[in-house]
Structures are given as C-alpha cells and as structure tokens.
Amino acid sequence: MAFSKLKESSWRELLLWLSGFRKRFRVIGTSMVPLLRPGDEVLVNPRAYRQTVPQVGDIVVSRHPYRVDVRLVKRICNILEDGRCLLEGDNPSDSTDSRSFGAVAPQRILGRVTSRLPR
C-alpha cells in the first residue's frame, strides 16, 4: 500500500473551512505517524463520499465500530465486496484498527481528510 502524502491546507481549503465545507479536528495518538503527529490539526470534508465511494489509500475520520463516542483517524487499506472498509494506522505497531475490530460500514465514515493545517 502506497502511503499518499497529505497536503498542507491551501487558502482554498481554509476558505472552504470558513464557509462550513470542512470540519476541523485535532489528532491525538501516534498511529498515523509520520503523516500526522499528535497535536496536528486536519480539515475533513464531510460530504466527500456523497457523490463518490471511498478509495483505498484515503485518510478518513470514522466512528469506532463499538464506541460511538470515539472518532478515529485512519487510512482505508482495503474495501470489501459489500462496501465495508478496512482501516489501518500508518504506524501499525501503535494502532488499534480493523485488524482488531474488523471492517467498518461506510455510514460510520464521517468524511475524508483533505489537508493538514500548518504546524
């Protein structure tokens, strides 16, 4: 699996955020290191999968399958025939993900991470 890069937020991204088309989240934990460090902030497009389907390699924010109050940021590493996604951290030795909790239904995905705010 090729780890795609994540762009730093452009002015366009910031404008989209200011006009409500992006949600801002702060990352805690190290399962997405080196791409995302603890304390990094990302912008998420909640409407990303209205027209298109999730793609392998996308970085997404998803609800935890068993803990609705927990939101995860992970990468989609595989998509099953029924459309459910397998999520994995870029830093698998410090990540609890689909290897433990199994596939995640697409409805649980809250959006695609589109950029990272400057550090």
Binding site: R24, F25, R26, V27, G29, E41, L72, T96
Partner: protein, 155 residues
Amino acid sequence: MNTIAKIKEWFPAEEVEAHCDGPCGVYDPAAARINAEAVLSMTKKILALEPPAGSDAKAWAAYLNTMARYIQIKEDQAHKAKTELLVLWTDYFKPQHLEQHPDLHDVFWKAAKLCSACKVEVNLEKAQELVDTVKKVHSMFWATKGREVTFYTAG
C-alpha cells in the same frame, strides 16, 4: 501562519483518535492473571482438602460437594485463562511486536499448554508455572506500550 496558530489556540478543535487502546481499554492481561491465580488457588485447596475419617454419609456428601466445586472452578478458570491468552495473542499482539519479543509465540504456546495441563492434573508446580508465564505475558504486553506496570497478585 501565525493566525492559524491563534485560531488553534482560541477555538479548540474536536479530537480524533489516531489510536484507541487508551480510551477503549479493550485489552488487558489482568483478566488472564486473575484466572491463573484462581487455578493456583483451587489447586492448593484441592490438595489441602481432607476426606472425612469415618463413613458418615453427610460428611462424605459435604466433602465430595466441596471437592467437586473446587474442581469445577479450576476447570472453568483454566479455560477462561486460555481464552483470555488467545485473545491477547491473536488480537492484540501484532507482527511488529515479534521483533521486540522474539519468544512471544513460545510464551503463549507454553501458557496455553499449561492451562490444559492444569485442567487435566492437580499439579501445584504447573499451576505456579502458569501464573509465572502469565506474568511474562503481562511484561511483554506493557513493554509494547512502553510502560512498566507492577504484576499484582492476590496471594
């Protein structure tokens, strides 16, 4: 990008977890430890239980009843210990952890075998060895998180 830094500070964003072990707390070797300790405790109790001297039916019924209960608890707890260990082995530990603990598979294999041996036999040495092996699992588990956690035992 000073403005962004100020925005981050003044308007804190919601959090997303780039791990979930912490908040979930799904995995913990403590359960296996409690089970293994119960196996050791029941083994001791079985060995210490004196049969009645005479042929009093009531005394024998009480003796057999107590013995059966000890045996059943030993059987159940050894099985639970094995289940807990297998969950840690197959769900929690990842290939990356093998590099840190090359003997990981050996330890789990031995621990699972000891659970079985403790069911089949009434063997104090093996019950103690089971607790000691669970302690090794405990140490490996917390080492993967870079933490040192004391192995508390009830006995």
